[in-house]
């Protein structure tokens, strides 16, 4: 299992669209993936679980990936956070 930290930097924070982008990215990989904020952990393939984490702009999250393609999955997610989920 590997993990990395990421900060939410898009204007609205994680809402429906950004959560959807996370789920779609995860679905390209086989690894199990979680997002963690403080003690709370969410299944990164569940749009509802991600939204219920409540991550406004500035939130720091830990991304965890576990499985044969964990490295690729983690990199893809970090890139997605860096791109502000494709938003402005």
């Amino acid at each position: 299992m590997i993990s990395a930290k990421a900060v939410v930097r898009n204007a609205l924070g994680i809402h429906m669209l950004s959560a959807g982008a996370i789920v779609e990215t995860c679905n390209r990989f086989k690894a199990k993936i979680w997002l963690q904020k403080g003690k709370r952990k969410s299944n990164a393939r569940s749009i509802l679980d991600i939204i219920l984490l409540e991550s406004p702009p500035g939130t720091q999250l830990t991304i965890e990936a576990d499985g044969e393609d964990e490295r690729e999955a983690l990199d893809a997610l970090l890139a997605l956070f860096d791109r502000n989920f494709g938003e402005k």
């Binding site: 204007a11 959807g20 789920v23 299944n43 509802l48 939204i51 702009p57």
Partner: protein, 594 residues
Amino acid sequence: MTMQARSGVRPDGVLGRAATLTGQVVSEGIAVGTAFVLAEKLTVPRHDIPESEVKAELVRFDAALALSRDQLVTLKKQHIGAEQAVRILESQLLILVDPLFMGEVIQRVDADHRNAESVVSDVVDEFTRSFEAMEDVYLRERAADVQDVGTRILRNLMGAEFPTLDRVGPETVLICHQLSPSDVAYLSTQKVLGIAAEVGGLTSHAAILARGLGIPALVGVTEACARAATGQIVILDAVEGRLIVAPTHEQQLEYQTVKKRLAMSKDKLVAAASLEARTRDGHELAFRANISVPAETSSLESMGAAGVGLFRTEYLYMNQQRPPTEEEQYRAYRRVVEAAGPAGTIIRTLDIGGDKNVSYLGIPKEANPFLGWRSIRFCLDTPDVFRTQLRAILRSSAHGPVRVMYPMITSIEELRQANQHMSEVRHELITEGYSIAPDVPVGVMVEVPAAALIADQLAAESAFFSIGTNDLIQFTMAVDRTNERLSSAFEMLSVPVLRLIRMVAEAAQAARIPVSCCGEVGATAEGFLLLLGLGIREFSMNIFSIPQLKQIARHVEVAAAQEIVHRALSCATTAEARALVQRYTGPILAQIGE
């Protein structure tokens, strides 16, 4: 369906009877049309299933999911080009395959031996409650998407018909339990004259959408779906907050007239907006606009605003990851200053905290945010943020008359400290070679009783006062204005508030400095009259209220307002004071309405 539509017979065969229902106005206007009742509530069957049928039940659930998916994909295809609708539908497709949601349903059908409908309904309710417990209003209202998906699955499980907006005819008043997000897209293309929803609030999808499209709308119309039937004539009165089912012929004629008059008086008011606002006894008044974003200045001229009386700068700081740079702020201020022109602009320095928080500024969660580290207190403690803003404001003064005001001042020390920064920043800018106006008057926003009580001392060191009535009422009456249980105590017409305003106005007059009022109470006929009587001659309010208030101003006399205030100040109860004021404003409002 068409038979039902013509006869006004409900699906259960009962003819909708004449009735008048009430609701909350979220988008003003009047509509007379044919009812279309959408999405009556589903009755979910609830029963146990024998263990032997669990497998078949899961297959049935699976089939409902597949059907739901096909429907959403088809809907999405139909909406290519309508970006907002496509996004909503894409989110719903992801909810439909959400492992947490679907896993929970499968697990419970399997373990509890319950029918799929009851489990789906329970799980949707649980997610709805979790969503509604979130802090972010926008995310809270996404519970509607979860419910929308849940209802779709339920309908498919039950083989129930989908009432869709496709069948909405012309001249329709839409009646629904709650306008669902997947219905949103239809409204812009269909001829919907009005909307009545059983649930929803001012920030609900239905409300925002209706206001944006200029469609009259009511929410909170209890039992609307049960009391009205598709095809019946209804009157939606989104002025008084009424839905009249099966009105009489006389009522219909009456409302057609009311509707015309409403449209005419709106046109007339706007046409007269550019005329000056002089009272009947010859006092010249100024009406300025309260704005939050530069784009709002586009209506200044058509609404007859004499410049900007309050530019709330905090919105530049919101929805960002860092404070706006000096250049970003300068561009925004310059845009407003240029749009306001010679009439001038009053820029309020950052008023953050309280109910407006910005995560990156590091203001901690406080037990009493309205009494906390906010506004000018925050600015004086973080000089980098404050001075960047002052630099940008001073630079914008090269493009038109600018005044600056500090919010939440409670002492002379705070005013002096802020002014010290101001003069240092002015000096810096001149040294750096910027051209700035030689005179940028600095005033105090009087919104805390402490400031009102030392108004004479503050007046000696201020160029002007602006009274912020929202906070002044809140702090004087010790009433949190966001607390619904106390909202009736949030009252402009109370004697303590009037007395404080009188102190401020008198101190300003004695020191010969201008005093204005920039709260929304000045945008009501009663509040306006009292402020006028207390000596206020300059008003600032939301841009769309200005035409009406200017019209009221032309019908009043300052002498009468003074007499009314004099008597109101000695009223024992607020109800008495209100009755006193309304005896004068009532006939004026009636006259303007004609």
